[in-house]
């Protein structure tokens, strides 16, 4: 397939900035202000445009943007699946649009949905208690590690280290550091999984937790998970599950059954809430019974007479979001899970894994590690994975995640998800293969059919201009 993206061009730029369309200054001190001058700003300069102008501006911008509704978006570890439209309507219910400080008795509907989602997620992950407060996956990680810390503190154990496999998401490392832990990086074994001997050598009475993604970031299931869990638990540490790859396991394996004590869910991945160009997501956290008393406040429970109430866990860490997290996202996740039910969830994972395996089969590139599940890391070998990816943009697909994880040279981490049919996967494979076998010149100068041709990242970083004000300097 050939793809030509919309491109509005005016001189040396595309759609002009709002500020280039209009620049209106209001002299605040000359308005009939209810405040004394010394408490107000002097003036405010912003675009003052009519509604039709604004509609056109943003419509054009939208046309210069790729999305999952445009075509395949197989970014590994990102789980770009279709976002069912009806979930938007459900979340837009005006009755759900209430203030977070509402009394519990006047907010039974919201509390009911929160309770329902807590229950769904607990059973899906095999966990005993869930908080919905963390507003993103990384915030979920941070919440989980704070819970681990509170647990150790409560038991008088001052532990200083969090163990993380080298192939883990960057957020794991950053999260552990933010929580004040030293990071112990764990090498992979030859097969691409946790090196059990290295783990045994790494654990100690300093180990607060091991953070693990399973299947891992090249799609491999950690087959030694029971022994991994025993090793960590015997050292007195906790086992943390990074939920980024949960879309591989629905209905086939639950972190709680594998010995994990804490997990986060990425509802914007596994449960199909839209990514919104980078967010909002939500990163609920599930824990085993023993850790539930440390979860953030408040949680929601059902009373004997079928009402819902908020409560503070006995040794709660407090709050990780100003209010109740990304509420609108949580509604959409609830609706998605309800739509699929047991069979649909299991089928989503089955088809996600089938699609990844089928796609890999069609590629000319090698896939060094297997058997993989919902995603695989192909290697571009002696070609530059980033250049191959840029060339793919010309073929009506979004490329995979490139050059990560580092254990695969020139990695192209690919996750087609369950939403693609065979025909689309064939087209995707063709885009991979065409780009991979194209000439050096073609891939180095690609893309040409997108709104922008290859962008100079170096000058953007050497001379940062981060606002329209900075363009005039």
């Amino acid at each position: 397939m050939i793809y030509d993206q919309a491109r509005y061009t005016e001189g040396n730029k595309h759609e002009p900035l709002l500020s280039e369309k209009d620049d209106t200054t209001v002299a605040v001190d000359e308005t009939d202000s209810p405040l004394p001058d010394e408490l107000t700003r002097d003036e405010l300069t912003l675009p003052g445009l009519s509604e039709p102008e604004i509609a056109r501006h943003y419509t054009r911008l939208s046309q210069m943007n790729w999305s999952i509704d445009s075509g395949p978006y197989p970014l590994g570890s990102c789980t770009m699946k279709y976002n069912p439209k009806f979930t938007e309507d459900v979340a837009a219910d005006p009755n759900a649009a209430i203030h977070p400080d509402r009394s519990a008795s006047s907010a039974q509907g919201n509390l009911g949905v929160l309770y329902g989602l807590q229950e769904y997620l607990a059973t899906i992950g095999g966990m005993d208690a869930v908080t919905l407060q963390p507003p993103a996956g990384a915030a979920g990680e941070f919440t989980g590690i704070l819970v681990a810390k509170a647990y150790h503190d409560h038991h008088g154990n001052d532990r200083s280290e969090v163990i993380i496999p080298a192939s883990a998401h960057g957020t794991n490392f950053a999260t552990a550091a933010m929580a004040g832990y030293d990071v112990v990086e764990l090498p992979s074994d030859e097969g691409g999984r946790v090196d059990l001997e290295a783990l045994k050598a790494a654990v100690s009475e300093e180990t607060a937790a091991l953070m693990l993604t399973n299947p891992n970031t090249v799609g491999l299931f950690e087959r030694d998970i029971v022994e991994i869990a025993e090793t960590v638990h015997e050292a007195g540490g906790l086992l943390y599950y990074d939920g980024a790859n949960l879309n591989a396991l629905l209905g086939r394996g639950r972190p709680g059954d594998m010995g994990f004590d804490i997990m986060h869910y990425n509802v914007h991945k596994t449960f199909a809430t839209p990514h919104g160009g980078g967010g909002p997501g939500a990163g609920p956290v599930g824990v085993v019974d023993e850790l539930s008393e440390f979860l953030p406040s408040p949680r929601v429970r059902e009373t004997d007479d079928g009402d819902y109430e908020r409560f503070d866990p006995d040794h709660s860490i407090g709050k990780v979001h100003g209010f109740a997290g990304n509420w609108l996202v949580l509604i959409k996740a609830y609706a998605y899970i309800a739509r699929l039910g047991d069979e649909g969830l299991a089928d989503a994972s089955a088809k996600a894994v089938l699609n990844a395996n089928y796609l890999a089969e069609q590629l000319e590139m090698d896939v060094p590690y297997g058997p993989f599940h919902h995603e695989f890391a192909a290697t571009a070998g002696d070609r530059d994975a980033a250049d191959v990816a840029k060339r793919m943009l010309d073929f009506g697909v979004h490329p995979p995640t490139t050059k990560w994880p580092e254990m695969v040279p020139e990695a192209m981490l690919t996750e087609p998800t369950e939403i693609e049919n065979c025909r689309t996967l064939d087209q995707l494979a063709e885009a991979f293969n065409n780009a991979y076998s194209d000439t050096d010149e073609a891939i180095e100068t690609a893309p040409s059919r997108t709104t922008a041709s290859r962008i100079d990242q170096v000058s953007a970083a050497r001379n940062p201009r981060l606002s329209w004000q900075a363009l005039d300097e």
């Binding site: 976002n83 069912p84 957020t171 979001h321 109740a324 739509r339 395996n357 997108t450």
Partner: protein, 442 residues
């Protein structure tokens, strides 16, 4: 055609699945899973799949269990009227269903919108650097404290915050800074605003950051922020100011009172009341650029020499710098930022200033009316107010709040005899009813 019991969003026909399994060389989908038996799940979740129509009905009924109250609530989460254009444009699937712009050539539209959002924050705060979102005001404040810890030359570990800071915000702050060894302490307020003498007294060489809000959580407008900036500067502490997009349109620009970082609620525009879902402002000085948390959109050129936008300075972020990243944030609130920018564009500078001035005028007018009622004094603080104000009630505040609920109104009970009332254009139609209900409950 989908299989009868499969996901409605997985398009595989049975024959298609069979052909794909054959291509892969396995008998069944189950053969693709490399999960040892002892940890494989063979139970049921017990989640009954429902049709789209059933779920819409189910949730409509559930949400109808929320009492239909007219809310006069604020304290960090505000309701402003969001024009229809914001919904219609932001809901375009090209925006809503896109991912982070890791391939900028094909995502210029969203990048430009975020660049414009950053630029609007630069105008509103007067600070030259703004990121393209934090989760909410609370986490933005926490990130500011961590930035203060990174950029400060000396060993300070104290973060000074107003005694009236929302409990939730303070708790988030404490959770974020604990790992860095910082300690959160309160400074007293003087009739609603910063007690600057007491603050000066409390501030020392160990102070890493002073945080103030304008308007304060009680709705008062600060009158001596430059002095607060000087107190911070005197000890080389950072001055972090919390505000929101509407207030920033009217009140003193943070840069002009010496703010080093501006945080707060950008969700006041673009998002309707949404049970506390947020959008955190983060703006700061040029010199802290390399220490900013979160994503930044910058300008560059493409190979045809045309202006192009791209995420930049990513070496600050977790996917490159790992445990030495400026923050662990990855997924942010980009789509909410898009909506806020659309709302700002829709109002324009005149509309923004008008809206902000109404927030001052209307709050004062309502406070006067409440003050005229027997059993109430309002506003409690002898200050200018923005959107909201505190009311002293002769009767216990909780009892009054409960009585108001029965009459269809929601207000905050913030202390034994203190209520808080917040007024915007979304509840202005109901002030007569509120005043009558207050009178009834006195």
């Amino acid at each position: 055609m989908t299989q009868p019991d499969g996901s409605p969003f997985a398009p595989h026909a049975a024959a298609e699945t069979a052909a794909m399994l054959e291509a892969v060389g396995v008998e069944s989908e189950a053969d693709l899973f490399d999960i040892p038996d002892d940890v494989a799940f063979d139970g049921e979740f017990g989640i009954e799949p429902r049709s789209e129509q059933e779920i819409r009905g189910e949730l409509r009924r559930l949400f109808a269990r929320n009492n239909d109250l007219t809310e006069f609530m604020g304290r960090g989460h505000y309701s402003h009227y969001v024009p229809s254009i914001v919904d219609h444009l932001s809901d375009r699937a090209e925006f809503l269903t896109s991912y982070t712009q890791y391939q900028p050539e094909i995502t210029q539209g969203f990048l430009q919108a975020l660049f414009e959002y950053q630029s609007m924050l630069v105008e509103l705060t007067g600070l030259p650097i703004a990121n393209c979102s934090m989760y909410d005001g609370a986490t933005a404040l926490a990130e500011a404290a961590l930035l203060a810890d990174r950029v400060r030359q000396t060993s300070g570990h104290r973060i000074l915050v107003p005694e009236y800071l929302r409990d939730g915000k303070r708790s988030v702050l404490e959770n974020y800074v604990d790992g860095a060894g910082l300690v959160v302490e309160s400074y007293p307020m003087d009739d609603g605003n910063v007690d600057r003498e007491a603050l000066a007294e409390l501030t020392d060489e160990e102070t890493a950051m002073i945080y103030a809000e304008n308007p304060t959580v009680r709705g008062t407008i600060e009158e001596g922020l430059s002095e607060v900036g000087e107190i911070a500067a005197d000890t080389e502490a950072l001055f972090c100011l919390g505000s929101d997009l509407v207030a920033l349109s009217l009140l003193e620009a943070p840069a002009s009172v010496g703010a080093d970082v501006v945080v707060g609620e950008a969700d006041v525009l673009g998002l309707p009341t949404s049970y506390g879902m947020g959008l955190g402002i983060f703006a700061t000085r040029e010199s802290f650029l390399r220490q900013v948390p979160g994503r930044l959109v910058g300008v560059s050129e493409d190979s045809d020499d045309r202006r192009a936008y791209t995420l930049t300075l990513q070496t600050r972020e977790q996917h490159i710098r790992k445990e030495r990243a400026t923050s662990n944030i990855c997924t942010n609130q980009a789509w909410v930022a898009l909506r806020a920018a659309m709302h700002i564009a829709s109002l324009g500078p005149d509309g923004l200033v008008d809206l902000a001035e109404d927030c001052v005028r209307d709050a004062a007018a309502l406070a006067d009316r409440v003050d005229d009622l027997a059993g109430y004094q309002a506003p409690v603080h002898d200050r200018h107010h923005f959107r909201e104000f505190v009311v002293r009630s002769d009767q216990p505040a909780e009892g009054i709040a409960t009585a108001l609920e029965a009459e269809g109104f929601a207000v905050h009970a913030v202390d034994d005899h203190l209520l808080q009332v917040c007024l915007t254009e979304t509840n202005a139609h109901a002030t007569d009813g509120l005043v009558a209900a207050l009178q009834e409950a006195a």
